[in-house]
Amino acid sequence: MEILNINDNISLYSIPMKKLKTSSLGVYIHRPLCEEEASANAVLPYVMKRGFGLCPNAKAVSDYLENLYGASLGAGVLKRGDDHIIYFSAETISDKYAPQGECLVADTAELMMSLLFEPRAFDEENVEREKKNAVDRITAEINDKRQYAQLRCCEEMCKDESFALSRLGTKDGVDALNAEILKKRYEEIITSSPIYIYVCGDADINAVAQRIRAYASKLTFKPASMPKEKIFERHGDVRRVTENMDVVQGKLCMGFRTGTPSDDGDYIPLTVMNSIFGGGAHSKLFNNVREKLSLCYYASSSIVRSKGLMFVNAGIEFSNFDKAYNEILVQLDAVKNGDISEFEFESSVNALINQLESYNDDQNAMQIFCMGEKISGTNYSIDDMKEMIRRVTIEDVKRAAAKTELDTVYFLAGKEEK
């Protein structure tokens, strides 16, 4: 990976991946996740992509992309611990496959730069429409019950912390925005945030750098620094929340504190521990809660890295709540006690390595991986990670598991359930 620093705020990363037939660009604008900013950050990228210097309106954007053999343009926001990331992504087939020798990659980069540095759609009409769409996205979070259960569990668990905020902001926060506020937000953000730009595939990194420099030279940048991540800590009783909705399947989500930040020596063992516990078809949750007890179709666990959290999800009959809840804790205890077969351990290590390796074939996954490393400050490469995973022992896993404590139990139950 080659890194070019455009200025103190903007860095450009080149990840050559010429074996793929596409090239892609990802722009990640790093912000803190906080109530004052979240809603504006969530609406901003959608307004920006509605019109800019090169393509003054949405129709022009669409025609431009279609002429590049259907290049794609995406935008949105991500939440990584207490960080909020505004992103734009574009992808085109590489020049090698352009039937008439067109410069598809350069043209796609040009579109991205224009979008980033000369957005023009900050008028009332556009902003009001995108505000409505942003509220739709917030309310639509209820549509996927599995994700919704985890979202609610997380909200309850991290009450009073910025991490409880949705990446999409709040309805009230969005309602309070207007064109003038958003335009001002844009002007602040573009000059005072760390911005990471990834170019993947078969692209001329120096040509892209030159274009970014040309745009950036017209702006005055301010120093940008982000607060260091802080993991979630709490003392006291387990929180238990049951909510009722018109559903036929119950959704159980259990939130745990891991006590392990991502730059801690126990972080890698924790990922192995999660894999053993609930990270796939080789895991204890899959084989016991699903296969042995036939309680569910899915039961899995996942880690929220920068916040020191782990969540377990399962879709169950309402009446099986106790059975599933107890079995999940029994399985966690088994991991804590080191009751881990050689097969479970090896499968878990292999699954993690397999997943890391697969990023080498996927430009988007690779960008997200590198961006995550950058944000957490660990800056591990895929090879570093693989090496660390291979060195993990069962003792390490036990140590990481021992710190894991149940914090919040959320259950989405049917209308009539108690």
Binding site: K19, K21, T22, Y46, A58, K59, V61, S62, D63, E66, N67, L68, Y69, G70, A71, T92, I93, Y97, E125, R129, K132, N133, D136, T139, A140, E141, N143, D144, K145, M245, D246, V247, V248, Q249, G280, A281, H282, F286, N287, E291, S294, L295, C296, Y297, G315, I316, E317, F343, E346, S347, N350, A351, I353, N354, Q355, E357, S358, N360, D361, D362
Partner: protein, 429 residues
Amino acid sequence: MDMRHIKNELTGEEMYFGKHSSGLGVYVIPKKDYSNTFAIFGTRYGSVDSEFIVPGEKDVTSVPDGIAHYLEHKMFDQPDGSNVFDKFSKYGGNANAFTSFNITAYLFSATANVEENLAALIDYVQSPYFTEDSVKKEQGIIGQEIRMYDDSGSWKLFFNLLNCLYKNHPVKKEIAGTVESISRITPELLYKCYNTFYNLSNMSLVVVGNVDVDKIVKVTEDGIKKNEPFSEEIKKIYPDEPDETAKQFAEQSLSVASPLFMIGFKDTDTGFGGENLLKKSIEINILLRILFGKGSKLYTELYEKGLINNTFSFDYTMQPSYAYSVLEGESGDPKDVYAAVNKEIERVKKEGLSEDDFNRIKKVMWGEYIRSMNDVEDYAVTFIQYLFMDIDYFNYYDVYKQVTFDDVKKRFEKHFVTERSALSIINPV
């Protein structure tokens, strides 16, 4: 097994393929420098195939709905009591399976030990083992899978639409069946279906990735068990489906935030696979983009009025025996969207399509084809889906280049018929 080699100069792709004496079709697509390899072992058998005549028999066999999917789940149990996932896990392979309307497929992806993983795949798909107990055990798991879909607005939206478009065709039935239908599944029925549809002459193996072709062929040959290929086709029986829709409207209430809508157009120009089917699908995909793409007149109008948002999308699904296109999204007023769609179709009928639009969108189709070869999984799955429709995906260009503006104009008249459309809505409770 003789393997033929072909190279596509436009895409730079290469492929080796051949037919084993057991009847199994084998396709290997090497991807140099890739980390990942993906293999898929599939059969031409899906949820729509509940009535059929076994080669050599006279009578029609009828089986409970959802059995193809149930069979897929039960293939993971092995005669020695082991679980298939364990074999893959040991070699770091990520194994899975799926059942769609027309295909059941078993697959894995792996970045190491490809040959060991492939041997495991070929072995377990040829090792059925069903007992009363093991069949019963699955009812709890699949019961929860069905329940999960019962709460899914987008899933119900889709099946309610298919029940509008189709009067008789089994595509309108849920893939997993119902809690009632799966309760009638027995080991004997599973064996009957297995012995019919999992005959290797009804199956294909596709491997895409950084592989040594000779080794893949050897592992495959070594892994194939004794199989007598069918000399005649399995006769799949589908009821007659009239051109008209069953109804034009369906709605249901579920816990969703705002109304979800899906509009469908029933394609009645069916009954064929191969090049003609590929050509038709390119024509319809071009039309969908011209009429409803982000740069279209209708999209702009609906988006600016706030009648649709970024969730709006469209798709065309085709099989030899049925086909339909759909438009879906969220809207405060789905009926207004439906009316606007039909009005736009009337307008285009009068004013005609634009040749500039056609030329621009045809380029998009080429980009999509190139892009589809990027990811080993997407590529292999797409390849086998087309293969089972007798379409040569590798040589897509040969058909693509034939598609003219005139073809697309004719297709528009045939496909976008208001009387053969329907609207499905999921309302918030």
